[in-house]
């Protein structure tokens, strides 16, 4: 069991190292195979750990395995530890499983790219970082994984380094994440000072409310940045500059879910700081609404899905903030299935249309690529949360948890329900615009079907697997009747809320109805085109500018910084520093000119000078004597 966990952690790292060391001696294909194999080996390791844990009693299901002392500073010792408990195994399965499918898909998607080897090395590194994050046996290792995820996402988003927009997006993601890393590091410093340790066990200790609030806030800051929640969400849509499988990996299996994992892992501290937990839930609710609304007007197929990710992570934050940990994790898993499915199906669409991502140029693809259409349809239905697809089982449980949280909970519940309607609307807007209607001129000109060779197979089979998972994956848990996920995670994170049956059913019925009405509205406007799409110039503009978040950050942080720098240049650098060095140089030169005048070049002057000096010396000598 312990070996399984270590194999799971190290095999992607080994693959990254092997591909890097192999260089050009390894063919591009082989690099893809190595990375894929490593991910599936990791999945096997995770399965072994899972089976190992199943064989134990509930109370014994938490093992920490230490490889060696990683860092010793003064009296602090931090081991290189992995934790094997229900939560980490749950995440290992999701990360390695979905990650492996995505890497397999990449073999086809990236076929023919100039730098496939670099791509697969980065992908393996990414999977390793994420596994380190979820398996880290103490908060320090978790933070190390956290930082490495940031690094690998930076590398992958900026993978097409010849595009300036990709580089800008990568930098943006990195900076936004660094803000979260910083707040998280501060929280850890505070913990070290209070508890002298960073083991997970200390989170359950007694802290004064100030300390608990500050630590929880710091951790929340990290989670918000990594999971792209308001107000640190602006990097996520831009991260679509990376290759599509990267988007799938960042959005579905890894990275953005890390924030949810962090909250669940450190839930003990959040339970001591209920205000911060409420804040997390509130941010989740705000994000799911804002992202849902913005998604309505986006025209880039990947950006629409990106905003839907933000929105769904908002649901997870809502659940985790309310203390409904198992449901948040369950939604994380089902979301990994259907979001990876949507991204990869969108990737096939993009691949077939010569890298075009603008949905206004698409249309009528249903007839040209029926299987992709079905996969996309199933993914969309799961995203909206319709029975019997995966999203249905997980999303409604989160909404029901909101009902069990007093007045504040009702507000969140309404927001979540509104989000369901929006989800139906924007998801099916995308589906209808891209797949329904007659093929557009652009599609007729550029469409080429997926080839039936290795490229096509490697792209189609993960989509098929995920379609199946999206259909059956949700059945694992249906909260009113059976809840194995909750039972499984109970030893790690005991849920704080326990919604009653009527709350469950009310949420289920209402969210189904709202989701369906969202789809219906989308059908009227975009499918059947019976109703003209309402246009409000102001709203349209606001949404196209994504509520002016980027502009606000520009005005708040970027512009003042630039102005301060300009001011310093004009007020300090130029008059004081540049001027003074220039003066210093001028003066030295002038002095040199004066001295140079004594240098006549005439031998007799020199001789006279020597002679007269000697004479003066002699006189002085005699006089003093």
């Amino acid at each position: 069991m312990v070996y399984g966990a270590w194999i799971c952690l190290l095999s992607p790292l080994a693959a990254a190292g092997l591909i890097t060391a192999g260089g050009e001696r390894m063919s591009r294909r082989a690099a893809g195979y190595v990375a894929t194999l490593a991910c599936f080996v990791a999945f096997g390791g995770a399965l072994a750990s899972f089976i190992g844990l199943l064989g134990r009693d509930g109370g014994q299901r938490s093992v920490i395995s230490t490889a060696w002392t990683w860092l010793a500073a003064g009296s602090y010792r931090f081991g290189l530890e992995v934790i094997i408990d229900p939560l980490s195994v749950f995440m290992m399965l999701v990360v390695a499983g979905v990650g492996g499918l995505i890497v397999a898909y990449s073999i086809g998607y990236m076929d023919g790219d100039d730098e496939e080897r670099r791509y697969f090395a980065y992908m393996s590194l990414f999977v390793f970082s994420m596994l380190l994050l979820v398996q880290g046996g103490n908060l320090l290792i978790l933070l190390a994984g956290w930082g490495m995820v940031g690094l690998s996402s930076y590398l992958l988003i900026g993978f097409w380094q010849e595009r300036p927009s990709a580089i800008a997006a990568a930098k943006k993601a990195f900076v936004m994440n660094a803000i979260g890393d910083a707040t998280m590091a501060l929280a850890l410093f505070l913990l070290i000072k209070q508890a002298n340790s960073l083991e997970f066990g200390i989170l359950g200790g007694e802290y004064s409310s100030t300390v608990a609030n500050l630590v929880a806030l710091g951790l929340l800051g990290g989670a918000v940045a990594k999971s792209a929640q308001i107000p640190l969400h602006t990097w996520l849509p831009d991260a679509m500059e990376g290759p599509t499988p990267v988007s799938a990996l960042i959005h579905a299996a890894t990275m953005v879910t890390a924030g949810v994992y962090l909250i669940v892992r450190t839930h003990a501290i959040f339970e001591q700081a209920p205000k911060v937990a409420d804040l997390a839930a509130g941010l989740g609710a705000a994000t799911l609404l804002v992202a849902g609304v913005i998604a309505l007007v986006q025209v880039d197929i990947k950006r629409v899905i990106a905003y839907s990710t933000m929105s769904q992570i908002g649901y997870m934050f809502l659940g985790a903030g309310l203390g409904s940990y198992a449901n948040a994790m369950f939604h994380l898993m089902t979301h990994a299935f259907f979001k990876a499915l949507l991204f990869m199906a969108a990737g096939i669409v993009i691949h077939s249309l010569a890298a075009e991502q603008d949905i206004r140029k698409m249309g009528g693809l249903r007839k040209l690529m029926p299987r992709t259409y079905w996969a996309f349809l199933i993914g969309s239905l799961a995203l909206v949360g319709l029975f019997p697809f995966a999203g249905f089982f997980s999303k409604d449980a989160i909404l029901a948890a909101a009902l069990d949280h007093g007045t504040y909970g009702y507000i969140l519940w309404v927001a979540g329900l509104a989000g369901t309607f929006l989800t139906g609307l924007y998801t099916f807007r995308l589906l209808f615009v891209v797949f329904w209607g007659e093929p557009s001129a652009f599609v007729r000109e550029h469409f080429h079907a997926l080839r039936r060779d290795l490229v096509g197979i490697s792209m189609a089979s993960p989509v098929a697997v995920l379609t199946v998972l999206t259909v059956i994956g949700g059945w694992i848990q249906f909260t009113p009747w059976w809840h194995p996920v909750e039972t499984w995670l109970r030893t790690v994170a005991e849920p704080v809320v326990s919604p009653r049956a009527w709350q469950e059913w009310l949420s289920i019925v209402l969210s189904l109805l709202l989701g369906l009405s969202g789809i219906a509205v989308a059908w009227l406007m975009y499918g059947a085109r019976r109703v003209a799409v309402p246009r409000f110039a102001f709203a349209q503009r606001t949404l196209e500018h994504k509520f002016y978040f980027d502009e606000a950050y520009d005005a708040l942080f970027y512009k003042p910084a630039v102005q301060l720098a300009t001011l310093l240049r004009r007020g300090v650098e130029e008059p004081l520093i540049a001027e003074s060095t220039r003066d210093l140089g001028d003066d030295t030169r002038e002095l040199g000119g004066l001295v140079a005048r004594a240098q006549t070049g005439l031998l007799r002057t020199y001789a006279l000078a020597i002679a007269s000096s000697v004479a003066v010396l002699a006189i002085v000598f005699v006089a003093v004597k």
Partner: protein
């Protein structure tokens, strides 16, 4: 015992003064070099005079060393003068002022 040290010094001073005047006043580098030699010889004479007076051989050894150095210096100096002459450059130290700052 011969003349006293004062006489030696007088002759040495006279030689040194003559040499100095020659270095300062003459323009021909050849003559300047010759005057320099006269100055050195004046100094040598003073050294030897003191050596005799103090009955100490060190002064004489100094004089020998000065002669050796002076010989080398003359070799270089004359070589330069010959080189200047070959290049048809006027032998006038006042016009050789290329090193002016």
């Amino acid at each position: 015992m011969g003349p006293g040290v004062a006489w030696y010094l007088a002759v040495a001073g006279f030689l040194f003064g003559t040499g100095t005047l020659g270095v300062l006043l003459r323009r021909n580098p050849l003559i300047v070099l010759l005057s320099l030699e006269i100055m050195l010889n004046g100094a040598n004479l003073a050294l030897i005079g003191f050596a005799r007076n103090l009955r100490d051989g060190s002064g004489q050894i100094f004089a020998l060393a000065v002669m050796a150095v002076a010989a080398s210096e003359v070799v270089v100096g004359l070589g330069l003068v010959v080189a200047l002459n070959r290049k048809r450059i006027t032998l006038d130290v006042d016009r050789l002022n290329t090193l002016r700052g």
